[in-house]
């Protein structure tokens, strides 16, 4: 369990998947704020700056990459650690995405709930 209640912004457009991922993170002591798309994520970040972000890649309206670029444009959000949780993991390179704040990539199609929790925990160390 985490000693301090840390807030994770979960950006996932599939409501059912978001529910499952949030449950896993909450069971490990995190507070989870869910945003189904990039505009809602921007509003959520303004309201409560999270400690880390879990981000799906294909989102309604825009892709995660537009959001990553947006976050990098501001000093306060540019440092936020990001975990990409995606079905496209095998096509992505962590090295290429590191400049955009991405610290871990989790393969949604093969992960266990504990894998997502472990990835979040590792970026908050």
């Amino acid at each position: 369990m985490t000693t301090k209640q840390q807030t994770i912004l979960l950006i996932e457009d599939d409501a059912w998947l978001a529910e499952l991922e949030a449950k896993a993170l909450e069971q490990d002591g995190y507070t989870v704020v869910h945003a189904p798309h990039a505009p809602a994520a921007i509003v959520a970040i303004d309201a409560t700056p999270p400690d880390a972000i879990v981000l799906d890649v294909l989102l309604g309206g825009s892709t995660a990459f537009a959001l990553l670029h947006e976050l990098q444009s501001y000093e306060d959000t540019g440092e936020l650690p990001i975990v990409l949780c995606t079905n496209m993991a095998e096509t992505l390179s962590l090295e290429e995405l590191k400049p955009y704040g991405v610290r871990r990539i989790v393969d949604k199609s093969t992960m266990l709930p504990a894998d997502l929790v472990a990835a979040v925990r590792s970026v908050l160390l």
Partner: protein, 243 residues
């Protein structure tokens, strides 16, 4: 097409042929969700109520995935098949679709409804293909609409051109024009390594476009400030003029 001020319309009839990779990716999403639902089901802490909910979600997710595989099969065989075109009452067809998809929409806390017309309309179509197009658009709307909102099936007649449009209106992210422009500008300036990443495959739209072609129709989309309408346009039946 009847242009509407303040809205952006796009002709989607030339949608590009998707790759096997795109089809695999589209199927990966529901399969990954199914796996997570099943993993949750294995958890001893799950209550009976949650278990019932999980099972229902697995069933509904499976049905969505099966619809996609069925559409893919149909799409691959379009050239070899003959599709009988007949006068169809789109309102009746839409009503049937609303009945069929209501459990799925309710499970997602959304409503699917039909905007009723005063006068009955008839169009010329293949019932199965038209049904698949509307189901496809409805699935898309479910994915991109806001919880608590209604998705509307809409039927419009353009008498001068003899066209009937069946559309699916969703209320998605309330994106202001400024925010949209900012995001688009940022995206266009992103480095190539990021910008060139694959995005949504558009497989569903490609399939819908093919089905519309097979009925001498076309599909299109209108982007609203608070969502989108995806539609198919088909020839009105001659019987329309008698109404």
């Amino acid at each position: 097409m009847n242009g509407r001020e303040g809205k952006q319309q796009h002709d989607l009839s030339q949608y590009t042929v998707p790759s096997i990779t795109a089809a695999a990716h589209e199927l990966k999403a529901p399969l990954a969700l199914l796996r997570q639902l099943a993993l949750r089901l294995e958890d001893d802490a799950v209550t009976d109520a949650e278990r019932r909910d999980l099972v229902q979600r697995m069933t509904l997710t499976t049905e969505r995935a099966l619809r996609l595989t069925s559409d893919l099969t149909k799409s691959a065989r379009l050239d070899d098949a003959l599709f009988e075109l007949e006068p169809i009452n789109p309102e009746q067809l839409c009503r049937d679709i609303v009945t069929e998809l209501t459990p799925l929409f309710e499970a997602h806390h959304r409503e699917l409804s039909l905007s009723r017309k005063t006068h009955p309309l008839l169009l010329v179509a293949n019932r199965d293909l038209l049904r698949r197009i509307i189901m496809n658009f409805s699935d898309n709307a479910l994915q991109y609409s806001q919880p608590g909102t209604a998705v509307e099936l809409q039927i419009q007649a353009f008498k001068s051109s003899g066209i009937i449009r069946v559309g699916v209106r969703d209320y998605g992210p309330a994106l202001s024009s400024d925010m949209w422009r900012t995001l688009q500008k940022k995206l266009s300036k992103a480095p190539q390594a990021i910008h060139a990443r694959p995005q949504s495959s558009g497989l569903g739209l490609f399939i819908a476009s093919q089905f519309a072609d097979a009925m001498q129709g076309r599909i299109g989309a209108t982007r609203h400030r608070d969502g989108a309408t995806f539609y198919v346009e088909l020839q009105a039946s001659q019987q329309l003029s008698l109404l």
